[in-house]
Each structure stands twice: as structure tokens, then as C-alpha cells.
């Protein structure tokens, strides 16, 4: 049912930090982002790295040869320090990631179309709460012992995916040849369904050292063999699950006393129960099904139903919201071509119906924005309501934002003033201009005399390099920014204070430089109430009152970043400048209560924000994201291209870095 090596991978994964060998071992912290990218390369889907122990037991436990992904997460050992060389430890991690990523490539998450199964197996409408494994759960829930069926299915399906991987990727094939025998070595003898399934997996790959009862195993291998053949698909795995189920159930029934606890487990697996308990399952939920004959009848029925199903590659189409279809996407492009604003409605004053819920939002401008839903691959139309506030309802007391930064303010302001002057100096090497550049002209004459074609760029000009810039500073005001900083000279201040101080320093510097800029903050709660706070607009000049107001701002709620970015884009699109910069300062992941169907789904917010940034970029805005979250690399990398983001390990660095970044962007573009 498992082997010393497998147990070691699971156990050490938790406790291995003791005596962990840095030279050879691998840690999830570092390896996770790498393997997630690797998985993305392999199957074009990004899976979030998670520790094996965070996985539902049903998906990952020491009785499994490999963990099974739920389609969103990638389960990996927290530490892996079993083999002596780093290469060998990496190999195991690579296989773990490849097999789980492979589930996408080879169709584990395919599903029949909802209409086909509606009514057939209970209420298919629940499937619309889309989740990659939801259909499989519905299927497994039809078995008298869903947990047992789940064990069979996962074993068979993992074998199918592993075999396909090994056929397609020669390197992985070699990795498997190395790993599988080691994993099988001295497996614990255990004459239970799990033990037999463990042996079945290896037997399918030609390893026969198992300890299972020979007849049963032979029979099962015969039934299951086709799953490792080329061309096997999800349906094969499901059919084989149906075929193997009675064999193992019979085995159980013959020794029912021995496996009492296992029955409980298999009937009540928590992961499956959400769906399993709902369906009118044909047998009692409390233990051993009454007779073998009823199981066989059920299996026959399921086999028949399976035969008739067609599986779809795509995910479930329509969803809970109203979605922007192909035609609307076209609308967006058309509008953009006509140099109009992106799809957006402005309504104000805010409608009354809303005012009961959020009284403080009554008097502000309201904007409606779409949102990108990566699961459906389309926009959710008019999805987010955003309020632009001039003032926060619960502003705190006064506080001197720039305390402790005085010297930096001076330095940066001086530097920006100098740049302004420099921009008025002579520009040289022009083909045409106000005056002849003597130096260049002499050089040209020298070249001419030596018979080389001379440069014609001998003019110069003193004209301000009119670089029209509009810079938008967007500051994250979410609750997480209320964390105090733990080190450095600004210890004890909150992250927000430093974000705001950076904004204030930039503002003062930009006043010196003469570029147009504005400052906004954002937060909110839920899609109906995204807040954007206008701190300073483009047209205002910076005054004491702005700095004072910034000093009063306190951390707010969530981070629905996509909407805020779209709003900034909207405001920027009214700017005539040739360079439009959008700088987002934040402390972490885009997150909101309903940003995606489940709160834990970070992917949704991330993809939406990435889309919002891309929309802006397509429109000529240069976005730049700065995160002061030390884990930021992982997701910023996926939201913006490498040139458009920066992660600062220490918040305290931001005020000093921000002006530098600004100048670099301004110069570069």
C-alpha cells in the first residue's frame, strides 16, 4: 500500500527541516515557483504550489504513488532531502509536478456537457459552480463507497497520465525508470484494496514485485491494461473504475470485520462528501452495502451511461454571471480603434437603491467596469461597480507622513530640479538645427579629408526636450497594509505609511520636474463596492492640504486590483501626453471576497489584473507594478512582463527607489 520511500517523502516532508541538508535538499519555498512555471510550460496551465499536507487527503496521501491535482493546485513535499544529490531530489519534484500538470494535458478535467448528464445523476446544476474536479466528484458520488471508487479512479487515472507523459517526454521516461523501482522497493505487504491498487499501478508499468493476492491482481491488470496504452482517455479510466469497483468491494465484503474503519473512510470521505451526500445514492450511507447484486446492477447502469457520454475538452461554458461574448470583445477593439474610451458607463449621482447599503457612497461618481474571467476565457460584462471618492468616510487623525524622510525629500527634489534644467541644455548631433556644432563639423571635415563619408549630424539645438508625461500613482490601501514593519529605521510604522510617504515624496519631486501626475488610492469590498480615492488629480497643484489628507488615510479593505487599474486607465486615456505611466504600489496579491468563485482562488484576481494591465498597455499606457511583498515575485511575474515590475524585499526601500524607477521609466520609453 505504500513503501518506505513514499512514507519518507510524506513524513520527512513535514519534519525534514531538522538536519536539512541545504546542499542537496529542496524546499517548497524555492522550488514551488520554479515547478509551477515548469508545469505551466508543460501543460499551459498554472497550478499553485502547495504542500502535500495542505492537500485534501483524498488527493494526496502516502498510499498514492503520486499526488493528484485538483486542477488548480500542485502538491509538493515541503522539503525533500532524501537522496544524496540535488539532481535526484530535483528529479522527484519534477516528476511530481509533471504528473499533476499532465492531468491537464491528457484530459483529466474533461467533462460531459451539462445537458447530457442533467437529471441522469442527480442535479447537474451544481456543476456550474465550476471546479475542475466537480464532475468527477459527481461521478464518484454514485458509487456505494465513493471513497473506494475515488481510490480506484485516481490510481487508474494517474497511471494513464503517467504513461502518456512517459511516451511523450523521453526525459521524464528516464526519470520514471529511475524513480518507480525505488518507490516500489520493499513495499509493505498489505492485503487491502489500497495495497492492491498500489500494486496495480506498478503492475501496469511492468513491475511485478507486488505482494497482492495474485488472482485478484491479475484480473485487475487485465481490466485496466488498456489505460496505459496509447490513445487511452478519461472515459477509459472511468469505465475501468466501474469495472474494478465490484472486485475490490467483494474483497472488502469477504473480510468486512477487518475493514470496518476503512468503510467509514470510504463512505465518508470529506472531500467527496460535498457532492456524494447530496445524490440519492442507492445504498445506505452507513457502512457496508447490503448485497453484491445491487452493486453489480448499479455498475451496469453506470457503464451504460458512460458509454453514451461525449466528453468536452473545454470547460463548462455559461456561468453565474453575464459574460461578455465574442461580439463584445469586438466592440471593445472597434471602440479602441476609434480612439474612444474602453467599454465603460459613467452614472452619477449614484443611484438611490444603492445608497441604503453604502451610505457614504451616495455622493460620489460611480463607474461600471467589466472583469476578465479566465475560467470562461471571456469578460464578465458590467461586473464591477467602482466608486470614486474624494474623501474617506473614516479618516483617522493627523499624522506627519514625511517624518523621518526629510532628507530624502530634499535630495530627490533637488535631483528632479536638476533634471529639469538639464533638459534645457544643448541637444547635439542633429541633421538640422539652430546652430552648427563646431566640434562635430570639425570631425566631419576630418573624416571627409580622409575619404570617409562624413557624418551629417553637425547641428545642435537648445530646446526643451518636450517629453509630455502623465504619471498615475495608484496606491494599495487594503487591510494588509496595516501591518507594521519589523525592521529597519522605520520599524513600527505600517506598510501603508511607507506607501503613502513614497507617494508624497514622489509628488513633491514631480512638482519640481514639472511632469503631470496624479495620486489615487484603492481598496473596497466585493464587486459592488470597489473604492478609488482621489488624493490629487492631474489638474491640481500639490498643496499642504493634499499631504495632510494623505496623513489621515488608514488601511481599508480588500484589493480588487483589476478594477482599480481599469479606472486608472480610463482617467489616463483623457490625458494627451505622449508618455502615460501607471505606477501601482501595493503590498501583495490582488484579492477580494468575490474575486473569483472561491476566495482561495488567487488565479482569478491575478488573471483579471493581468488583463487590466494589458488593456492599458495596448492603449499605450506604460504600466509598472511595484510590490513590497517579499513573496511578490511569484505573482507579479505572471501579471506583467519582466520589464514592468519590481519587487522590493524591504518596504523601507520604496521611498528611495520610487523616484529612481520613475526616472528610468521616463527616460526609457
Amino acid at each position: 500500500m505504500t513503501s518506505p520511500l513514499n512514507l519518507a517523502i510524506y513524513d520527512l516532508s513535514r519534519e525534514g527541516t531538522l538536519g536539512f541538508r541545504e546542499e542537496s535538499g529542496a524546499r517548497l519555498e524555492e522550488a514551488g515557483p520554479i515547478l509551477a512555471l515548469f508545469g505551466k510550460g508543460l501543460c499551459a496551465h498554472y497550478l499553485h504550489p502547495k504542500s502535500l499536507h495542505q492537500a485534501p487527503r483524498f488527493l494526496s496521501n502516502p498510499h498514492r504513488v503520486f499526488p493528484f491535482s485538483d486542477g488548480r493546485e500542485l502538491y509538493l513535499p515541503e522539503t525533500l532531502d532524501i537522496f544524496d544529490t540535488p539532481g535526484e531530489n530535483r528529479l522527484v519534484l519534477r516528476l511530481y509536478a509533471a504528473v499533476q500538470a499532465g492531468q491537464w494535458e491528457w484530459g483529466t478535467f474533461q467533462h460531459p456537457c451539462v445537458e447530457e448528464i442533467d437529471g441522469l445523476w442527480g442535479d447537474a446544476s451544481r456543476l456550474r459552480e465550476w471546479e475542475p474536479l466537480s464532475w468527477i466528484k459527481l461521478f464518484l458520488g454514485r458509487f456505494p463507497l465513493p471513497g473506494l471508487a475515488g481510490d480506484i479512479f485516481i490510481t487508474v487515472e494517474t497511471a494513464r497520465v503517467t504513461a502518456s507523459l512517459s511516451r511523450a517526454f523521453c526525459g521524464l521516461k528516464a526519470d520514471l525508470r529511475w524513480f518507480l523501482p525505488r518507490l516500489l522497493e520493499s513495499s509493505y505487504p498489505h492485503n487491502t484494496p489500497r495495497g492492491i491498487l498500489w500494486d496495480l499501478f506498478f503492475a501496469l508499468f511492468g513491475y511485478r514485485e507486488g505482494v497482492s493476492p495474485v488472482d485478484t491482481l491479475e484480473e485487475m491488470v487485465r481490466e485496466a491494461m488498456r489505460v496505459v496504452q496509447p490513445g487511452a482517455n478519461l472515459k477509459d479510466s472511468l469505465q475501468i473504475t466501474v469495472a474494478l469497483y465490484p472486485i475490490l468491494e467483494k474483497l472488502l465484503r469477504e473480510a468486512r470485520d477487518m475493514y470496518k474503519s476503512a468503510f467509514q473512510d470510504w463512505a465518508h470521505d470529506l472531500f467527496l462528501s460535498s457532492l456524494a451526500n447530496q445524490g440519492e445514492r442507492p445504498t445506505s450511507r452507513h457502512g457496508i452495502p447490503p448485497q453484491g447484486s445491487s452493486t453489480l446492477t448499479i455498475m451496469e447502469g453506470m457503464a451504460e451511461t458512460l458509454d453514451g457520454l461525449t466528453f468536452l475538452e473545454a470547460r463548462l461554458p455559461a456561468g453565474s454571471g453575464e459574460f461578455l461574448s465574442e461580439s463584445l470583445k469586438m466592440e471593445v477593439t472597434e471602440k479602441r480603434n476609434a480612439a474612444e474610451k474602453p467599454t465603460l458607463k459613467v452614472n452619477f449621482p449614484a443611484d438611490r437603491a444603492h445608497s441604503d447599503v453604502f451610505p457614504e457612497l451616495v455622493e460620489c461618481k460611480r463607474f461600471i467596469y467589466p472583469e476578465w474571467d479566465y475560467l470562461r476565457g471571456s469578460y464578465r460584462r458590467d461586473w464591477v461597480t467602482l466608486y470614486q471618492l474624494e474623501k474617506l468616510p473614516d479618516e483617522g487623525g493627523k499624522r506627519d507622513l514625511l517624518k523621518g524622510w526629510e532628507q530624502l525629500v530634499q535630495e530627490v527634489s533637488r535631483q528632479f530640479r536638476m533634471i529639469r534644467h538639464q533638459e534645457r541644455r544643448w541637444r547635439k548631433r542633429l541633421e538640422d538645427g539652430e546652430e552648427i556644432d563646431l566640434e562635430e563639423a570639425l570631425q566631419g571635415e576630418l573624416e571627409r579629408r580622409s575619404g570617409i563619408p562624413p557624418s551629417e549630424k553637425t547641428y545642435m539645438e537648445k530646446r526643451r526636450r518636450t517629453r509630455e508625461v502623465s504619471a498615475f500613482l495608484l496606491i494599495d490601501l487594503s487591510a494588509s497594509t496595516s501591518y507594521p514593519i519589523e525592521e529597519g529605521s522605520h520599524e513600527g510604522e505600517t506598510v501603508l505609511q511607507v506607501l503613502l510617504a513614497s507617494g508624497a515624496i514622489m509628488a513633491q519631486a514631480l512638482e519640481q520636474l514639472g511632469d503631470r501626475y496624479c495620486l489615487y488610492g484603492f481598496s473596497g469590498y466585493g464587486r459592488k463596492q470597489v473604492e478609488v480615492l482621489r488624493i490629487k488629480s492631474f489638474s491640481e497643484r500639490l498643496g499642504k492640504e493634499h499631504l495632510e489628507r494623505m496623513g489621515r488615510i488608514r488601511s481599508r479593505k480588500s484589493t480588487r486590483m483589476g478594477a482599480a487599474v481599469r479606472h486608472a486607465h480610463h482617467i489616463l486615456s483623457a490625458e494627451p501626453a505622449s508618455l502615460k505611466l501607471l505606477m501601482v504600489l501595493s503590498d501583495g496579491f490582488p484579492q477580494d471576497c468575490d474575486y473569483g468563485d472561491d476566495r482561495g482562488d488567487r488565479e482569478y484576481g491575478l488573471q483579471d489584473t493581468a488583463h487590466a494591465l494589458m488593456e492599458a498597455e495596448m492603449d499605450g499606457v506604460v504600466p509598472f507594478c511595484i510590490s513590497v511583498d517579499s513573496a511578490g515575485n511569484d505573482y507579479l511575474r505572471r501579471m506583467c512582463s519582466a520589464r514592468n515590475y519590481l519587487v522590493l524585499k524591504s518596504v523601507g526601500d520604496l521611498p528611495r527607489q520610487l523616484p529612481k524607477i520613475y526616472l528610468r521609466l521616463r527616460d526609457h520609453w
Binding site: P33, I34, K40, F169, L172, P453, E456, G620, R637
Partner: protein, 282 residues
């Protein structure tokens, strides 16, 4: 004097006449489209990422159209850069001991002798060059030579082709609509797995299985493009890797130098790419 001219040519452009067929494997209907465009003398934009075969395609087309038409059709290639000016393209006077001498730029040369003139990465060039392109790219087919106060009427065989990488960099340096709409556009992407396999194996002379593994690596590594890698490995890089392997370099090592390091400097991305390499090559 001859020496001067030679050096000048070396620095700024390349003119080639193809006697032998340059190897090109069509990916879609680009050959037919280009042929029709050439016969109608409509200028062409080649769009696509680096190293996907644009240059090779043109070499092939210059050879093919020349052969079909029974004339010599040279290909003049100019790599555009920020400092490239109109005079660099059209030509300029240079001074000799006691007189001046006009030297044609690559564009004038191509216009006069009836070549295909390929302006590679044209968005990089300075804006004033576009002024030249406009009258040349519409029905007038005229090249103004400002310094001489004359215009050149293009040779009937002449065709203007520009290329343009619609990637990230060009978002701000976009082509003007008025320029873009003078051309028909052919989109290039990286070839699909089986075609890329053939290309790699043909170009590098490696066996089918090595080529296929490299093509597979390329295909998968390009999946990372949305995830922080600006450009996945190009066909060109994969061919380099194949050549190294052909020289006896161990495959993983060859990919390390030709692909992993070439594609990204980010250690996380590099490590992920190494895993991809390891997945493909044992």
C-alpha cells in the same frame, strides 16, 4: 575609392542574389500570398517574433520569383536601427579630393535595379525614413531623392518589404496607420511541432528524434510567454541547439547554452526551463 564603397556596403546593407534554392518550409499559404502580392506589386509587411523564418522566407521568395519570372531578383536587406536616417537609405554625396561623388544608399540601389528591398524592424528607424516609404509604397512607386532634388521611378521588378515584431517593445513605437495601410500583412508565428521538427532536422542535419525533442521543448517553453518570459525560444535558437548536439555536445548542455541562458536571465525562469529540458532529454 573602391575600398571606401566596399566598406560602406558592408556596414549598412547586404545584397544577395540566390542561385540555389534557400530552404524554406511553408507553414501556411504565405508563399501563394506573397507571390500574388509581388505580381500586383503590393508592398508587404512580415509580422512575427524573432527567428521565426521571416528572413529565410524572403530569401526563398526572391529566389522563387526570380526563377519563375526568368530574371534575377536580388534581395537587399537593411537592418533598421534608431540612428538610421533617410540619407542612410537613399544615399549621399561624399567628397573626393576635389570633387563630390554621389553614393546610392541601399534603397535607391534596390529601386533602380529592381530588387526586393527588405527593411527589417522598420519601427526602429527614425521617423523621417517613413516619408520615403510612403510614395514608394503606393501606386506612385517613386523614391524622392531630396539631396539631388530628383525622384527615382522604381524598376518594375522592385518590391518593398518591411518587417515588424508586434511584440512588447513595439507597443509604443507602433507603425502609423497611414504606413501600415500601404502594405498587405503576412503573419508569421513559430511553426507547429511537426513542421518545426522538419526544419530543425533539415537545417542542423540532426536526426528526427533529436529535432523532435527540440521542437517539443520549444513548443512547451513558449507556454511560458504569458508567465513572465518575454520571448520563448525561437526556431533559430532551437537550430543552434541542434547544431551543438550535432557537434557532439551533450543535449542538456547544448540546451543550457543555446536555450536556457538565451531566453531569460531570471534564475527562477531559467530553473523552470532546465526542468523542461530535463523532461525532454534524458
Amino acid at each position: 575609392m573602391a575600398e571606401v564603397e566596399e566598406r560602406y556596403q558592408e556596414l549598412s546593407y547586404r545584397e544577395q542574389v540566390f542561385e540555389e534554392e534557400p530552404f524554406y518550409l511553408p507553414v501556411g499559404d504565405e508563399v501563394e500570398i506573397f507571390r500574388s502580392a509581388y505580381h500586383a506589386r503590393i508592398p508587404v509587411i512580415l509580422k512575427g517574433p524573432t527567428g521565426c523564418g521571416k528572413t529565410r522566407f524572403l530569401e526563398h521568395m526572391a529566389w522563387l520569383l526570380g526563377k519563375e519570372g526568368g530574371f534575377e531578383l536580388p534581395l537587399v536587406t537593411v537592418a533598421c536601427h534608431e540612428d538610421l536616417t533617410a540619407s542612410d537609405l537613399v544615399g549621399r554625396y561624399i567628397l573626393q579630393a576635389d570633387h563630390t561623388l554621389w553614393v546610392d544608399g541601399p534603397l535607391s540601389a534596390a529601386v533602380k535595379e529592381g530588387a526586393i528591398c527588405y527593411l527589417d524592424e522598420v519601427v526602429e528607424a527614425r521617423k523621417d525614413t517613413l516619408v520615403l516609404i510612403h510614395p514608394l509604397a503606393d501606386h506612385r512607386r517613386l523614391l524622392p531623392v531630396e539631396k539631388k532634388g530628383s525622384v527615382i521611378k522604381a524598376h518594375p521588378n522592385f518590391l518593398l518589404v518591411i518587417s515588424y515584431n508586434p511584440g512588447y517593445q513595439s507597443l509604443l513605437k507602433d507603425l502609423k496607420i497611414s504606413t501600415r495601410q500601404r502594405f498587405v500583412a503576412i503573419d508569421f508565428g513559430y511553426p507547429q511541432l511537426s513542421l518545426e521538427t522538419q526544419i530543425i532536422s533539415q537545417e542542423a542535419g540532426v536526426d528526427e528524434s533529436v529535432a523532435r525533442n527540440l521542437a517539443l521543448l520549444g513548443e512547451r517553453a513558449r507556454n511560458l510567454e504569458e508567465a513572465g518570459v518575454e520571448n520563448g525560444p525561437s526556431t533559430r535558437l532551437l537550430i543552434y541547439a541542434a547544431r551543438l548536439i550535432g557537434q557532439g555536445v551533450e543535449p542538456r548542455r547544448a540546451c543550457e547554452t543555446a536555450v536556457v541562458s538565451a531566453v531569460s536571465d531570471d534564475p527562477v525562469v531559467q530553473e523552470a526551463m532546465r526542468h523542461l529540458v530535463a523532461a525532454v532529454f534524458p
